[in-house]
């Protein structure tokens, strides 16, 4: 969205206006082209008339018609001496007609381009504006507007609105076109024009009366469509419960009932549309007959000047004219109907003005206490005032650890929202030292508070992107290498442990490994020995050329345990499609393809009937990665795999290359193993290495390899890992061994690039919590508010995070909403909320003595083991 310094960004309503200044240029361009096309329409009619007259009157010969008034085009050509003696008039006019049509084509092409630009710009701007507005909406808004509804409106309604800009231009240009044609009629005989216009008006008037109902139906249709999308969202979220409870029928019934509502609106709209269309059609027919009647009359009565040319031009122009006029009516209707969408999107307008990113924030090291003075609040305007008869009065010391406790619905989160200013108090004052917080805008608040909500937000990106998410883009810490402070928090929150573990499965791509090659051979030998000693798991040193059962066919062929994910992506890329077709044409690919068929024959039922990767991997005799599973499941849907179709063979070759020999039993494996062992220097093996050379580099015992995952890289061998427990054991030994060694740095860097997946799906609940905590600490504002910071953590991590909060409170004011008794015991102040008011606040020990309700609550928790 175009924002100018010192100028407030447009509101959503302004942005949705058809004639928004940002698009006027493009719209004007469309208008000019449209006018030119209308002019061409008029010109081509005149030329057509001249051609016909020239043919019928003079047989296309030189000269002007003898028995009627010459068409002005013919006259003009003759007057200007443009004709060589003996040349045909009709040829010159025909050329002019062709030229006009050519220009028309060029202009239409330009129109398409300009329209596309207008459309995509409008779409981009609406999306940005809606997001900016929605992000400023309060929690209440999202209780009634689901994410699915928003996505639906963003799709359906914004499309209608974007179309409007083109529609307005089309409206004007179609009107110009129609006017040009009418003018042509009028210039011949004004009665034609009057008849044409009069009759076409009937359809427009009828349509006008139908519009009210159309609008109503459109709204109903869209709203029921929103509900269907929201139902999807709800039920997909509840999928585990639905599966366990076998509630599919129930879900289906609910969806069908919403669909019925939409169907009803849709069918009624369709019938209405049909009625409209039949009115237009009848209208056109009447108009056409009227015109023909008029022409017939003209011919019958001996006609006037130029009648012969007019007949031909009329036959060409009448369909055009009625096309235009019914288009006009439809365009007006579309504009009116888009009003529905406009009103739906305007619901997303935020009341809060979008101020530009403000640079002013209070100094970060400012230590100030927070005080609340007689604060009362209400959940919505006019609602009952809460906070007790005297309101909430509370003081929070600077740089202290405070916890808010209380039963569910007691107002714990509300208190935090009030302090942060996400909720405005109905009366009373909240201040940070001398600074009144109540009136502060969002930008000023952003320099004071760091907040970790209870529902953790993990973005679809790397670990590093996630922990830096809290830092605004204009902050120098947002980019570049992570500084010492950041690394400190990554270590303290144990995100580093998680990163290192993940790194073992990742390859050190895009890193300069040179500096870490020193004594790598020694480290590798030591590690292999230690693993065997501590875990009893044998580690076979890598030996290029040998066939290792754990590896895939491809890895065997290339004697490299390359990063499978990287390889997979590279093999599926467009640039390697040709490589695959080359490989498939080599006779040596046949055993690999046969092998793949055998793998499918052994697992096809599982692939077809297991709904998810987890289910498949629980049953399959040999593990495969989710990527390979996904690929195979899709391939199963492709059709019969025994087809000789080269495309199927190519896919099978790929499946064979990404499969491991032990996956299928029987003779196929034996054959394949023989082939692989033999193929060490064979043509096929060489071709594979060449085609996928980017991912395959020779292995060396004295250097790290960018394509080997860290675990294999550090061991320079393959551990016989048979289950997850064994893998964890091996990882533990490796990570203990490399602790404090220089090679730890690139490992951690790799791990921080671990992609956490959408909504952090590739992390556990506890890991997500650690990442979010790290993000909050890294943001490092004077006041840190965390909602249930340890809810998802195991006891060990919980204790660690509690001590971390205690430690951080030396230079931050920490407020934690918690159910954790241990954290409450460590706090400087426990704030107990009950029934929406401040019940008591003191140190834990003092509260236990002074407050019966607190004692009861604690006893209940301890009994429940919380």
């Amino acid at each position: 969205m175009a924002t100018h310094p010192g100028k407030l960004p447009d509101t959503l309503k302004q942005r949705l206006r058809i004639l928004h200044p940002d698009y006027r240029g493009l719209m004007l361009a469309l208008l000019i082209i449209g006018a030119a096309i209308a002019g061409l329409a008029y010109t081509s009619l005149q030329l057509l008339q001249a051609i016909v007259q020239s043919f019928t009157s003079s047989g296309g010969q030189t000269g002007l018609p003898r028995d009627e008034e010459p068409h002005f085009v013919l006259q003009w050509i003759a007057d200007n001496g443009l004709l060589e003696p003996g040349a045909k008039v009709v040829f010159a006019v025909l050329m002019a007609y062709a030229l006009v049509q050519l220009v028309n084509v060029v202009l239409s092409f330009i129109t398409i381009k300009v329209e596309a630009r207008l459309e995509i710009r409008s779409r981009n701007d609406i999306e940005t504006s809606i997001l900016a507005n929605l992000l400023r909406k309060d929690d209440k808004f999202f209780l009634t507007h689901s994410a699915a509804e928003i996505a639906n409106r963003l799709n359906v309604d914004s499309r209608d609105i974007i179309e409007r800009r083109k529609t307005v231009i089309s409206l004007v240009t179609t009107a110009m076109n129609a006017a040009a044609i009418l003018y042509f009629f009028a210039s011949n005989n004004w009665i034609y024009a009057v008849v044409a216009l009069g009759i076409s008006a009937i359809g427009v008037v009828v349509m006008h009366f139908m519009l009210g109902e159309m609008e109503h139906l459109r709204r109903e249709h869209f709203e029921s469509d929103d509900s269907i999308k929201a139902t999807f969202e709800d039920y997909l979220g509840a999928a585990p419960e639905i599966q366990v409870g076998n509630l599919y029928d129930k879900v289906e019934r609910r969806v069908v009932s919403v669909q019925d509502r939409r169907q009803n609106a849709f069918m009624r709209t369709t019938i209405l549309n049909g009625r409209l269309m039949s009115i237009y059609a009848t209208n056109q027919l009447i108009a056409f007959l009227a015109i023909l009647g008029a022409i017939g009359y003209a011919l019958f009565t001996g006609g006037g000047a130029g009648t012969s040319g007019l007949v031909a031009a009329v036959l060409y122009a009448v369909p055009q004219l009625y096309g235009n006029i019914s288009d006009l009516a439809k365009l007006v209707m579309e504009l009116r109907l888009a009003k529905v969408s406009e009103r739906r999107l305007e619901e997303y307008e935020s009341d809060e003005p979008q101020a530009a990113q403000l640079a002013i924030a209070p100094p970060r090291d400012q230590a100030a206490g927070i005080s609340l003075d007689k604060v009362k609040y209400a959940y919505s305007p006019g609602d009952q005032l809460r906070g007790g008869p005297d309101g909430i009065s509370l003081s929070i010391e600077p740089n202290s650890l405070n916890v808010i406790v209380g039963p569910a619905g007691s107002g714990k989160s509300t208190l935090a929202q009030l302090i942060m200013g996400r909720m405005k108090p109905a009366s009373g004052r909240i201040s940070l030292g001398d600074l009144e917080l109540t009136g502060l805008g969002p930008s000023e608040r952003s320099g004071i508070f760091s907040y970790m909500p209870q529902s953790l937000i993990v973005i679809d990106g790397t670990l590093e992107e996630n922990i830096r998410f809290g830092i605004p883009s204009n902050d120098p810490r947002a980019g570049g290498a992570l500084d010492e402070n950041a690394m400190g928090w990554i270590n303290k929150t144990s995100v580093s442990v998680l990163a290192r573990e993940r790194a073992l499965e990742m390859a050190p791509v895009d890193q300069d490994l040179g500096p870490y090659n020193q004594d790598i051979a020694g480290l590798r030998a030591g590690l292999r020995e230690r693993i065997e000693m501590e875990t009893g798991i044998p580690v076979m040193p890598m030996d290029p050329g040998s066939v290792m059962p754990r590896l895939t066919v491809l890895e065997n062929l290339t004697s490299s345990a390359a990063d499978m994910e990287l390889l997979f992506r590279s093999m599926r890329s467009r640039e390697h499609a040709q490589s695959m077709s080359r490989l498939v044409s080599m006779p040596e690919s046949a055993p690999v393809i046969d092998f793949a068929r055998n793998v499918f024959a052994q697992t096809s039922q599982m692939l077809q009937r297991c709904p998810a990767y987890e289910a498949y991997s629980g049953l399959a005799p040999f593990p495969i990665s989710p990527m390979v599973w996904d690929y195979r499941s899709n391939l199963m849907r492709m059709g019969p795999l025994d087809s000789p179709d080269p495309r199927v063979r190519q896919e099978l070759l790929f499946a064979g290359l990404t499969a491991s020999p032990p996956e299928a039993d029987g003779t196929a494996v034996e054959m394949l193993m023989q082939f692989l062992n033999k193929a060490g220097g064979g043509a096929f093996s060489k071709a594979v290495s060449e085609q996928f050379g980017m991912a395959l580099t020779p292995l060396s015992e004295d250097a790290l390899n960018a394509n080997l995952q860290w675990r294999d890289n550090l061991l320079f061998g393959v551990a016989r890992i048979t289950n997850a427990k064994a893998a964890a054991e091996v990882n533990r030994v490796i990570l203990t061994e490399i602790e404090g060694k220089p090679v730890d740095a690139p490992i951690l860097r790799s791990g921080l690039r671990y992609h956490v997946g959408r909504q952090g799906k590739r992390l556990s609940g506890g890991q997500r919590q650690l990442v979010c905590l790290c993000r909050t600490f890294l943001q490092g504002n004077p006041v840190i508010i965390v909602d249930e910071p340890t809810a998802a953590l195991d006891p060990k991590n919980r204790a660690a995070i509690n001590s971390l909060l205690r430690e951080a409170s030396r230079d931050h004011t920490i407020i934690a909403i918690t159910h954790d008794v241990d954290l409450a015991k460590m706090a400087d102040k426990v704030i107990m909320m009950k029934d929406g008011r401040l019940w008591a606040s003191d140190r834990f020990d003092a509260l236990v003595v002074s407050t019966l309700e607190f004692r009861k609550m604690i006893n209940m928790r301890e009994e429940a083991g919380l």
């Binding site: 052994q602 697992t603 039922q605 629980g618 049953l619 005799p621 039993d665």
Partner: protein, 141 residues
Amino acid sequence: MTLDDRIRTLHACDFFSVVPEADLAVLAETMHEEQFGDGETVFEYGDPADRVYVIVSGELLIEVPGTTGATRHIGPGDLVGEYGMFDGTARSATVTSLSQTTLLALDYTRFRAFLVTFPEATLSILDRTVKRLLVLERKSR
């Protein structure tokens, strides 16, 4: 052994015969073949129990050590090792192959995974088991 052969074997096995056709095909794929020669021990009393076997061909002898005469011969379609499936950590008998034998093996972990993924199959096995228990109960009265 083709998939059809395996399905046929499972059909012939009383325990698995109740599993719906489509699920049986999946089950057949999760199993793997094991071969034993004449006189070879399949497992011994006290061994850790980790898989169930369906006999495809050949003959097996079941003996419970310490008891006399408590032996039983089993053949194609019979199931062995199913007791450890839900409870049990060690084999309760010794099983020896009396001929060239082909078995289909299914480890307990996969069998459990199968039961969790295919509830229809689980219900039919449960149904069959409960009916048997009722018969036994009636007999014992």
